[in-house]
Symmetry: C2
Subunit: 338 residues, 2 copies
């Protein structure tokens, strides 16, 4: 390599991820899919779901918290509905086969729904809905996770950070992707701060006793704060019903941690909806109105589109690669060897 050894190209990120997963007894085909998701996360600058999480993926595959050999099982349950049982394996391959069927059904029917159950951390939710938009549809995604947000008025976490994601195709540019957790900040960001021994800003979280904190480790033991107060808690509840109750997955309160080794498979769920633009506004009217809307945002000084930071990172990492902390890189290389 002509670059310093702590900078990896995206191809190297993907190759390293693949090696770490295969060394952890993950089937080659599944390792390829998950490695690609790690690459996409790093490409977009979403480090909490990139190499920083890869070690945990490998560790969980080794101890059976995620089954690296699982064959996801797809069942078409209606003309416009499909379920995939991830069989306690990675979410990514379950979502990949599910989305192919989802977009086919949405084209036939006007809208379709995909419910994934018995699944694991799905990485960056926004990337899955971006795939729906790349296929020409408007996409919605919902995912639950181990508990980290208390209900409004309470103190004990019962919701995951429960993000909602949305994507829609835009003429002559990548899809618009909105990917937001129900908390003020994603749990992955707090994990990253803990990993790097960096304090978190006030207002992100409270301790287990309900006190404000800037210590990421105390925050991880306490409760994340919902975004916008009771409205964030309301969104977390919507996502919980969509991603867990409707899919037959574990509720967040029953899901084991994505971070540590305890408790067996988390069995969380994901739900996706694809809507056929052609059956509603029609593609030309959609493109034209959506263009007007996006211009009304970008024409305002200071205003920006959601996802712009990710797209900017996508350009720069493709050109410059990604900087990987030496300690993290050494640990991953070690894990890729056995």
């Amino acid at each position: 390599m002509t670059v310093p050894d702590h900078v990896l190209t995206l191809a190297e990120v993907e190759a390293l991820s693949y090696e770490v997963l295969v060394a952890a007894n993950v089937t080659s085909n599944i390792a390829r899919i998950v490695a690609r998701s790690v690459r996409r996360a790093e490409a977009d600058g979403i480090r909490s779901h990139g190499l920083a999480r890869l070690g945990t993926y490998g560790q969980h595959a080794r101890i059976g918290k995620v089954d690296g050999q699982a064959a996801a099982e797809l069942t078409k349950t209606g003309p416009a509905s499909v379920r995939v049982d991830a069989k306690c394996g990675f979410a990514h391959p379950a979502i990949e086969i599910g989305l192919m069927e989802l977009t086919k059904l949405a084209r036939e029917s006007g809208i379709a729904v995909l419910a994934i159950t018995n699944s694991y951390n799905c990485g960056v939710l926004g990337h899955h809905v971006e795939d729906i938009a790349d296929a020409g549809f408007v996409g919605l995604g919902f995912v639950n996770a181990p508990p980290s947000i208390a209900p409004w008025g309470g103190h004990t976490p019962i919701f995951g950070t429960n993000p909602i994601a949305f994507a829609a195709p835009v003429a002559n540019r990548p899809p618009l992707v909105i990917d937001q957790s129900s908390s003020v900040i994603a749990r992955g960001e707090i994990m990253l701060h803990a990993q790097q021994d960096k304090p978190i800003p006030k207002g992100w979280a409270i301790t287990a006793d309900g006190e404000p904190t800037t210590d990421p480790k105390e925050a991880l033991k306490g409760s994340l704060l919902p975004s916008g107060g009771y409205k964030g808690a309301g969104l977390a509840l919507i996502v919980e019903v969509m991603a867990a109750v409707l899919t037959g997955a574990n509720l967040s309160i029953a899901a084991s941690s994505f971070a540590d080794d305890a408790g067996g498979p988390p069995r969380t769920g994901q739900l996706f909806v694809a809507i056929d633009i052609a059956r509603l506004a029609g593609r030309n009217a959609f493109d034209s109105q959506f263009g007007c809307l996006l211009s009304a945002i970008t024409d305002q000084p200071g205003a920006r589109l959601p996802g712009d930071k990710r797209l900017a990172a996508r350009s720069s990492t493709a050109r410059d690669g990604v900087k990987v902390p030496d300690k993290l890189l050494a640990a991953l290389i070690e894990k890729s060897k056995h």
Copy 2:
């Protein structure tokens, strides 16, 4: 009546609403549907969409800003998709015929979508998704409105308060309904404060110059603040695409005010999704898991379910009726006469 004349029973609210609408040249059948929605709003204590708005409905019907004679036109565009052109009439009758088809298609296909275009203020969004849940489905609703929220980083409103609503059936109690605007507070609340000459709390809105304000009239000329900062602006954008771009309705920036007489029909849009529980988790598993989730909330001291305030109001107004300000009541009685 044995009650003081400034307290109306819900039946009296509905009858008065019907008279005001018919006097404003609204067709009897449409007046009945809209009057019922005013009653439901007052029953749930949502006064901003109750009698306080009825005078505007009548005035707009008189001047043709809403067509009180319009015959909404339904088109089935796919096995699971339906569009209704409200023809610049009230949203309520368009939604009523649309929801009947929506739930039929969702039962056949597993999920279905209803897009309403060329429409008007739909009243309480949560009531329409509650109807979807009462029919046994999980419901989502999106609606846009004249501009009142600026994009994140900008100063000029381009989004309506753009609420999102969700409802799901609960065994042995009314559906859980979550109905949240993308702003810190609904515009209707600020209109109500302006009507009653009451100041608004700080943090609800900014003036046209971007300054914080407690004057509801200045707030109505400026911009509402999105809930949770950029995440509320993100939600407003999602809702704008779902309710306006996908339905072929006016963008919020092109929609005339719901409050004053200028600009002709607002031609806003609504979009609803119904999901068939039987095709996903199955009704028994859904009921059982949903029950666990709701208990995990209500078991926590201090925690409360979204919509509890509305349900409590529903009980008390059914028993005690609703207090109507004398000035408002006198004005409405006057309007019902000619």
